[in-house]
């Protein structure tokens, strides 16, 4: 841009006589004359550039053959699909490099279907791009606004209808109709709110370790429950738990029989999700928390497996570092320090289950969890 083209701030630029036309983009280089036009005219559409197939009949013929080839490929793919559908045994496997051993039928049908669909699609697009008319067309749109007479007529008819129905003259009808329509919304909202299920009541703070079923409305009374292996549902003796061991534990009575799948909790998944416990044995000298030692048994400690962050099962126990890692967000708990959070987004330590040994040498719970397990919730005490 020339120096004189740029208006300096504060200086008035008055277009000189005869400078009122804009430069068209398709006129090539135009030497500027200075000043600004009064109005920029619509430059319009760029010039239409004809394609090879528009000018040369041989090119058009070639394009036709290409489109036909693509459609032919699609026909071939479809026919192959039908043949292979019957020809390949559904159990047959084949090794495909980069994919591995996979079902021969799936692979063949997928490839042929892809050829048949892509043939149609690519052919149609190629046809449109090379042979179908590509001249730019402008289609003018009629104005959206209705004429003033039509608009006035609508207003008159509505107002007249209101008057003739007498709703303005008879307020009793107006207010009862409003009340009826307004109240009608209540049943719809009520169904949605009501179908959210029962209120959790105390069930978020209770687990099966409180003595049995802990759903809404249940009032379990504490009885010592044996610690059972998950999923075998067999009790655990204290001397089974050697140093470095980890047992995945459920309370007695919760799990069904592992073979017959009979018995167990009525709401099995809800109860399992709250009652899951991890049982570990450490050298008592390594445990730094006196409460952890007191609530355990000779270095055997039981902690809730439900992460205090968002409730994932914290199952990754490293027996050398005694770290418990949550696989979802990498919260790390140190088992030697009463499962204190040493890394990650969890805010509270995992709740410990107080355990003891019964007369037969099996591990039992000595008390339910002292706090609610799992993530925080509003009413959490």
């Amino acid at each position: 841009m020339n120096e004189q083209d740029t208006p300096h701030p504060g200086t008035e630029v008055t277009p000189a006589e005869g400078h009122g036309t804009a430069v068209r983009l398709d006129e090539g280089h135009v030497v500027g004359e200075g000043g600004l036009p009064d109005r920029f005219t619509n430059p319009g559409l760029p010039h239409h550039v004809p394609r090879m197939a528009d000018l040369d009949e041989r090119a058009a013929k070639r394009a036709e053959k290409q489109v036909a080839t693509l459609f032919g490929l699609s026909i071939l793919g479809t026919l192959l699909f039908i043949v292979l559908y019957f020809a390949i045994d559904i159990e047959q496997t084949v090794f495909i490099p980069g994919v591995g051993t996979t079902s021969a039928s799936n692979f063949a049908l997928g490839i042929t279907l892809a050829i048949s669909l892509l043939g149609i699609g690519l052919g149609a697009v190629h046809w449109a791009k090379t042979l179908m008319p590509d001249t730019e067309v402008v289609e003018e749109r009629h104005p959206m606004r209705a004429s003033d007479e039509s608009r006035q007529r609508v207003v008159d008819e509505l107002a007249g209808g209101g008057r003739s129905s007498q709703i303005t003259r008879r307020p009793l009808i107006k207010y009862t109709l409003g009340g009826a329509l307004g109240l009608f919304a209540v049943p719809i909202v009520l169904q949605v709110a009501g179908s959210l299920g029962p209120m959790p009541q105390k069930s978020l703070s209770l687990t099966w370790w409180n003595g049995g079923p802990s759903g809404p409305g249940e009032e379990p009374t504490f009885t010592p429950l044996r610690l059972m292996r998950d999923p075998e549902n067999t009790p655990i003796r204290a001397d089974d738990v050697t140093i470095g061991s980890v047992f995945h534990v459920m309370p007695e009575g919760l799990l069904p029989d592992p073979v017959t799948h009979e018995g167990g909790a009525e709401h099995l998944l809800e109860e399992k999700a709250k009652a899951a416990v991890l049982l570990m044995r450490l050298d008592p000298d390594q445990i730094q928390s006196q409460k952890e030692l007191d609530w355990g048994y000779e270095g055997i400690v039981a902690y809730s497996k439900i992460c205090t962050h968002v409730g994932c099962p914290v199952g990754l126990y490293e027996q050398q570092t005694h770290h418990l890692l949550c696989p979802c967000h990498q919260s790390t708990f140190d088992v030697t320090q009463d499962c204190k959070v040493i890394f990650g987004p969890a805010k509270r330590p995992l709740p410990q289950l107080k355990i003891d040994v019964d007369d037969e040498g099996y591990l039992v719970s000595a008390a339910p969890f002292a706090e609610a397990v799992g993530p925080s919730f509003w009413e959490r005490g």
Binding site: G100, T101, S103, N106, D134, Q319, P327
Partner: protein, 271 residues
């Protein structure tokens, strides 16, 4: 030299220099890096405690101590090698048979797949020596680890409760804390080594003794692993069996990439 000097401000000069430095460092490391001790040349077939003791002293004692009593490092806060009393022949067979031991260099974890410079007889001799120090788990018999005798369905239930949180639902492995990881358990891991890992609890892995998982349960787990490692994959690419992470990445990169490319092609002018 003039040509070099003239091109020193070329935009590619930095990249070339960095590449050169990397190649040089790599080559230097390959030359200097510690090599596994290769002292075991005698191939005596006799599985004897005496033979094992000699092999142990030649290959393992620098970390585990002359009599496998364990040894601290110079800075005192960590151990170079733990005491091996009571780990049993199973631990020796697992650690040496998978190439984890002898460790070529210190690290948070001994990786599998190192070069195994010992014959089965030599490993058995060292195992016999270690087992003579204190009782420990034995190498399991062929029958105890035979996948065809196990119940894969029950093994799957046991695997999902006891193993899947670290080793992944499809046994393709997963990350632990601070660079440690649970390795994948693919078809290349022998049933014997799977059994030994469960019963000895190598490195970060907890111990699953016979009172926790009975030998029959361990065989069921081996049968389950054998079943998932030999089954075909009708859906095609497993993408590492890592779950939604790789699948999502694949869909976003390739699926969306193809769609974007198609949209660009459709919108471009033919002429």
């Amino acid at each position: 030299m003039n040509a070099l000097a003239a091109r020193r401000r070329h935009p590619a000069a930095i990249a070339v220099l960095i590449l050169l430095g990397l190649v040089l460092t790599g080559a230097l490391y390959a030359v200097v890096a510690p090599k596994p001790a290769d002292a075991a040349t005698s191939a005596a077939p006799a599985q004897s405690v005496e033979e094992g003791r000699n092999l142990f002293r030649a290959n393992c004692a620098s970390c585990h101590g002359t009599n496998a009593e364990g040894r601290p490092t110079g800075n005192g806060d960590t151990i170079a090698g733990p005491s091996l009393a009571g780990v049993g022949a199973a631990a020796v067979d697992f650690q040496m048979g998978t190439g984890r031991m002898p460790m070529t260099q210190p690290g948070v974890q001994a990786p599998a797949g190192g070069q195994i410079n010992f014959t089965d007889e030599e490993i058995a001799s060292i195992g016999a020596y270690i087992a003579s120090l204190a009782p420990g788990p034995e190498v399991p018999s062929e029958e105890m680890v035979d996948p065809t005798r196990g119940d894969p369905a029950l093994g799957g239930a046991l695997f999902r409760v006891n193993c899947a949180m670290c080793h992944n639902f499809a046994a393709s492995g997963g990350a632990l804390t601070r660079g440690k990881y649970a390795p994948g358990i693919g078809a290349d891991v022998t049933p014997t080594h799977i059994y030994e890992a469960m019963v000895t609890g190598p490195q970060s892995m907890p111990v699953f003794n016979d009172n926790n998982l009975t030998p029959e349960s361990k065989r069921d787990i081996i049968a389950f692993l054998d079943a998932i490692n030999t089954q075909e994959n009708p859906g095609g690419m497993a993408l590492g069996s890592l779950g939604p992470v790789t699948e999502g990445l694949f869909a976003w990169v390739f699926g969306l990439g193809i769609l974007v490319a198609a949209a660009v092609w459709l919108g471009s002018k033919a002429a």
